[in-house]
Symmetry: C2
Subunit: 462 residues, 2 copies
């Protein structure tokens, strides 16, 4: 079977004969798209494989590698960069059947799970034993650990706790031409080899397929108290962020939402938004009950200074409602207009205010509405440009605006992607951010792992 020769039907049949027909699935539209669908990115696959074991993943990769077919690994399909979309055919390898907990050792603060385990399910499971897996990307009910690893997924609490990679001590992966490797493991420190674990973290399936991960856990904080400050405008809000960072505590999270975001997502905010709400900061203090309470006082003092209003909910239901609302902001913004192009640049934190204001201006210059929210403490903005999906010209203008945001991030000393990855939507951006020799090394690393360029080809191109 060669790719040129194979129709999708023939590829499916040949793959099924080679690896077992229980692995090859009918495949649904859901296997061909991710969260970039509203910006017009969709794929087509020659076949969809849903292996249940690492050996089955290896068999699929071996067959694809022997037959010159692209392999497109797929987690929960919640990505914003098109990383899981089969843009040019090949075999989609969905990890959704690999959901086993291979080892959970609460007293040793660690767990080994397969790649298809949904993030939220893992978080609930370890929480029952008083532990926490801190990474909390959006869409955690759908997103999977393997995808979180492959994109080094972040989230609000990455400010204190780091992104997914900070919690990975070992990986099992299938690498070309179809070998299973295990690097790292339950050991918490290991400098015997080059850090292939963290080379795979964030590699977006272009070096191999993560099939299982050893994850560190920690005892859950006894309490976590968010404080919400609402401000007249972005400069006042950014001053509040600086005060929070000067408060002497390490906040668990420091989030922000700008005026345009509040205008579209504010209706479901658990409390009344005061008149003149031009900016919001959410900071959280956690730790033992005493520590969290003391931190809450510090954050409240810091956020109150220039605020129009401050909320500091203490009841668990109120806190949960606040975070549920925050988690739903992206959907609420999309729902307000039908579609958006959203990019997640990151800048040094002192440039946050400028990046927020310039995003609005860039939207205006391109004839689309620009707004942003995100992880303020990490300088990580979700810059969104709203569009009506029925109007192709709007998509074009929004894309052009997003491109201007990349320029802005680079000019401010930042990165084109803080947590979503390159996928297909940011191809070619890395060479504007890295020196030429580093880009060469990027290509050489890819070639070392995947000499035939069949692992998620067309993704994460420098």
């Amino acid at each position: 079977v060669t790719r040129a020769a194979g129709t999708a039907g023939r590829v499916r049949e040949a793959l099924a004969r080679a690896v077992g027909d229980h692995i090859v699935a009918a495949g649904e539209r859901g296997h061909l798209r991710d969260a970039t669908e509203t910006r017009g990115i969709a794929g087509r696959a020659d076949a969809v494989a849903l292996p249940s074991t690492t050996e089955e993943v290896a068999a699929v990769v071996r067959w694809c590698y022997a037959n010159g077919l692209p392999v497109v690994p797929r987690g929960g399909g919640t990505g914003f960069a098109g990383g899981a979309v089969p843009v040019d055919g090949g075999v989609v390898v969905g990890l959704e059947r690999m959901t086993r907990v291979r080892a959970f050792e609460p007293l040793r603060w660690r767990v080994q799970v397969e790649a298809g385990m949904p993030t939220a399910a893992l978080r609930r499971r370890v929480r029952e034993s008083g532990l926490v897996f801190p990474p909390d990307p959006g869409a955690a009910e759908s997103s999977q650990i393997g995808g979180n690893v492959a994109t080094n997924a972040g989230g609000p609490h990455a400010f204190k706790y780091g992104a997914t990679g900070a919690w990975v001590t070992g990986l099992e992966a299938v690498v070309p031409p179809g070998d299973v490797i295990a690097v790292g493991g339950p050991v918490r420190k290991d400098v015997a080899g080059y850090d292939l674990v963290h080379l795979l973290v964030g590699s977006e399936g272009t070096l191999g397929i993560v099939t299982a991960a050893w994850l560190r856990l920690i005892p859950a904080p006894e309490a976590a108290f968010p404080v919400v400050g609402v401000y007249r405008d972005a400069p006042a809000g950014c001053r509040a962020i600086e005060l929070a960072m000067a408060s002497g505590i390490v906040p668990a999270a420091i989030e922000y939402l700008d005026a345009g975001t509040l205008a579209r997502a504010g209706a479901a905010y658990p409390w009344a938004l005061p008149a003149g709400a031009g900016f919001m900061v959410i900071a959280e203090a956690d730790g033992s009950a005493a520590e969290a309470e003391a931190g809450r006082r510090e954050l409240r003092a810091a956020l109150a200074e220039d605020a129009v209003s401050v909320e500091a909910p203490a009841r668990p239901e109120a806190i949960e409602r606040l975070w549920q609302w925050r988690d739903g902001v992206s959907l609420a913004v999309t729902a307000s207009c039908g579609g958006k192009v959203s990019e997640d640049v990151a800048v040094p934190v002192e440039a946050l205010g400028e990046a927020i204001e310039r995003t609005v201006a860039i939207g205006r210059e391109h004839g689309v509405t620009g707004l942003s929210w995100g992880h303020a403490g990490d300088g990580n903005l979700h810059c969104s440009f709203l569009l009506d999906p029925g109007v192709p010209a709007e998509l074009e203008r929004a894309r052009a605006a997003a491109h201007a945001v990349f320029d802005l991030a680079l000019a401010l000393g930042g990165t084109v992607t803080g947590e979503h990855g390159i996928g297909v939507v940011k191809n070619g951006q890395l060479r504007r951010q890295w020196p030429a020799r580093a880009v060469d090394l990027h290509r050489a690393v890819k070639h070392a792992f995947d000499p035939q360029n069949l692992m998620n080809p067309g993704k994460k191109l420098p």
Copy 2:
């Protein structure tokens, strides 16, 4: 100048002509050895270069690469694996003149320093602004940030805070054939490219020379209280470690010392060691004053259960004396006999007790004294075999015992090195720990960076 043709004198002269004679130093015996000297490892160099700028480092690497001469990067020379020893000639590149703080931005919790900055000097500098750089490897007055990055140095507080790599957000490095690359930076999150930053971390100078690093900082904890438990034997001490991990808090550090270590290093312990002291656990609680005090109570309860005695110093001078004593354990053990072979294997924490007892037994089987201490929470043992440096047969027996410790670590699912690295002393061990395809990838990554194999050749060989 070719390597075969060049005498050291001719290499020095040619290098000086090419890059400027102010860069080429007389070189001292100190530039040819590290902490492995007591086990008989010494080097010889064709020249020693002490550049003061990144561009000078690049000039030296370019000249060496053009002339086929090995480049041996050198930090503080405090390594235990011979990584900085020029085992087979070439040009030693000492970073000791590159000590500038390029940027220190306390309100943004970050600093950029050059590679030659001593670790302790950096820690003091940021502490003046209420911040902490958590990694605390031994010999911090001599060790340098560049070497810490190149080895991913750990230390007692890596248990809570992670090793050096956890704090690196960006690196500047000189890579073959003499190019300066900067990857990452002051931005706290960045998934635009493969994680070359953490590929360089722990690469022991075999991929390039780290010349500067962007480091994350955090507000210093208000207080840190250690609790010391002394036990009759290792099993009782290991139960105490489990209780500390079940206490609900995240201790900042969990250290241990076994009976043989206490016998040799115990004289300088700040308090009286009780009769029958067969094991010691030091755990520390930190945070706000209230948090640290509460954690101290929890740890004291956990460590007291089976203890012969418990100390919980509260006065700063007493706490400082305790940690100074702990930091000096390695020297005290060496001083007690004249020399030692010491390896830093790591195992899953539940295997710690077995690894500690087997180390003693392995020593006995090889006719040398075996003992250990280390970072209990990370399962990281410093397994030491004592020797009289004047008796070559003892060095041989100690080396054989160390080799048996590698077997032990691998049998227990661990790693041959938790924090010291491979250097020259553990060459060939990785292939026993990793599957063949992962070892191939290790070699391919090395080749991608350093096709002529001139960057610290003969080190970190799989």
